[in-house]
């Protein structure tokens, strides 16, 4: 039994540490901010702004001009200027996107250098949590039960008593 608990403690510590490192990396590099937070509190440095392109606000950039639209989220709207190229013309109104860039406090607009799809990390995390955590619990329960049964059989001397009988 002692070996079982040591083995599982080591496994929990390893996977727990990896999960903590993953959460830290998520907070540092992947976490998005909402237009509501940016417009009310402002922000510095490179940001990932998550929101939906407002209906009627989208103006596609032509002849070297940037693409402009309003990005909404959590009850607020932010003007976004995208200077890059939308190669596949995948941008459209009512689409949820992530704009990567900087918030210009003076001009009250978000200068986006890159656009990406909504990562939907909540769904990815849920899928792994709902499959791997029950798997670990199920496995632990079975291993513990088998170890207990071997101990009980050894203590009860099942083989000996029955064969003698």
């Amino acid at each position: 039994m002692k070996r079982l608990y040591i083995r599982w403690t080591v496994l929990v510590l390893i996977f727990g540490s990896i999960t903590c490192l993953g959460i830290l990396r998520y907070d540092r590099e992947v976490k998005t901010v909402s237009p509501a937070k940016v417009s009310s509190e402002g922000a510095k440095g490179e940001l990932r702004l998550l929101g939906m392109i407002e209906a009627g606000s989208f103006v596609r950039g032509v002849e070297g001009k940037p693409t402009r639209f309003m990005l909404s989220g959590e009850g607020a709207k932010v003007a976004v200027v995208f200077s890059g190229k939308d190669e596949d013309e995948s941008l459209r109104e009512l689409k949820t996107i992530v704009a990567l860039g900087k918030w210009e406090t003076e001009r009250k607009q978000f200068d986006a250098s890159e656009l990406a799809l909504d990562p939907n990390y909540g769904f990815v995390t849920s899928a792994y949590v709902f499959s791997l955590i029950p798997l670990a619990f199920f496995l632990f329960y079975m291993e513990r039960r088998v170890s207990l049964l071997y101990v009980m059989i050894k203590e009860e001397k099942v083989y000996q008593s029955e064969t003698q009988a």
């Binding site: 799809l117 990562p119 499959s131 496995l139 083989y159």
Partner: protein, 237 residues
């Protein structure tokens, strides 16, 4: 082969399956969640594939194991084989439930629905219900011989669903994507194929390990029951 010798073999080799499964799954999780690229259309959500597909494949592997063990039981009438059938059924139910849950989570951002009455999904749900029925049948019958025989027959009949699950995406117009790896070739990017293969083999080997542990568990429980005076004729002492 006697039951005690069989259990001894399981106990001797099980750890190697556990270690290999742990290595493959760890490598699969790292490559799947960190190094592999996002999909052009689905984005990051495609990473659910590395857990959903292995779970679904392993559910079918577990049911196939149940099917072959059931035939073996009807042929040899060996109690330890019935324990293996029971163990495989429990694991098949677990992986089927996992496949259905992760599939629903993947379906919401890609199809905008948690569930659709698609041939693949429906036939998979039928396998889930068959396994629930199988395990319920085992609890209803007290007679050990009858319980094992009826359960084996039910498992063999239920196997009809497996080819339907596999070929459903070919036979009917389905919302579910077709086979990514088939006799026609591999229609999946190499950097996605690596974590996919690692996780598929890893979860498959983990199932083998779990089957070895669970078969021991059920055998030992029967042994203790026999010690208490129940099912004395069943346990091989």
């Amino acid at each position: 082969m006697t039951a005690t010798r069989f259990i001894g073999i399981l106990r001797k080799y099980e750890k190697w399956f556990g270690i290999v499964a742990l290595i493959l799954i760890s490598a699969g999780l790292y490559t799947g969640l960190v190094t592999s690229s996002a999909d052009y259309f689905q984005g990051e959500v495609v990473r659910i594939m590395y857990v959903h597909v292995p779970f679904a494949q392993t559910a079918m592997l577990a049911y196939s194991t149940l099917f072959f063990c059931s035939i073996w039981y009807l042929w040899k009438r060996d109690a330890i084989v019935d324990n293996a059938c029971h163990a495989a059924a429990g694991l098949a139910l677990f992986f089927t439930a996992g496949g259905l849950i992760t599939g629903a989570i993947w379906g919401k951002p890609t199809w905008n629905a948690w569930w659709v009455w698609d041939p693949r999904l429906t036939s998979f749900a039928i396998m889930f219900l068959t396994l629930v029925g199988y395990l319920m049948l085992r609890t209803f019958l007290d007679d050990v011989e009858k319980r094992a025989t009826f359960a084996a027959i039910l498992a063999i009949i239920g196997f009809i669903d497996l080819p339907i699950i596999h070929f459903s995406v070919e036979w009917w117009r389905s919302l579910h994507q077709p086979l990514s790896v088939s006799t026609r070739g591999v229609s999946i990017a190499p950097d996605m194929l690596v974590p996919f293969a690692l996780m598929s083999f890893g979860v498959g080997i983990l199932f083998t390990y779990m089957l070895m542990v669970r078969t021991q568990l059920l055998y030992l429980e029967h042994l203790l029951e026999a010690k208490q005076g129940r099912f004395l004729s069943e346990a091989e002492l």
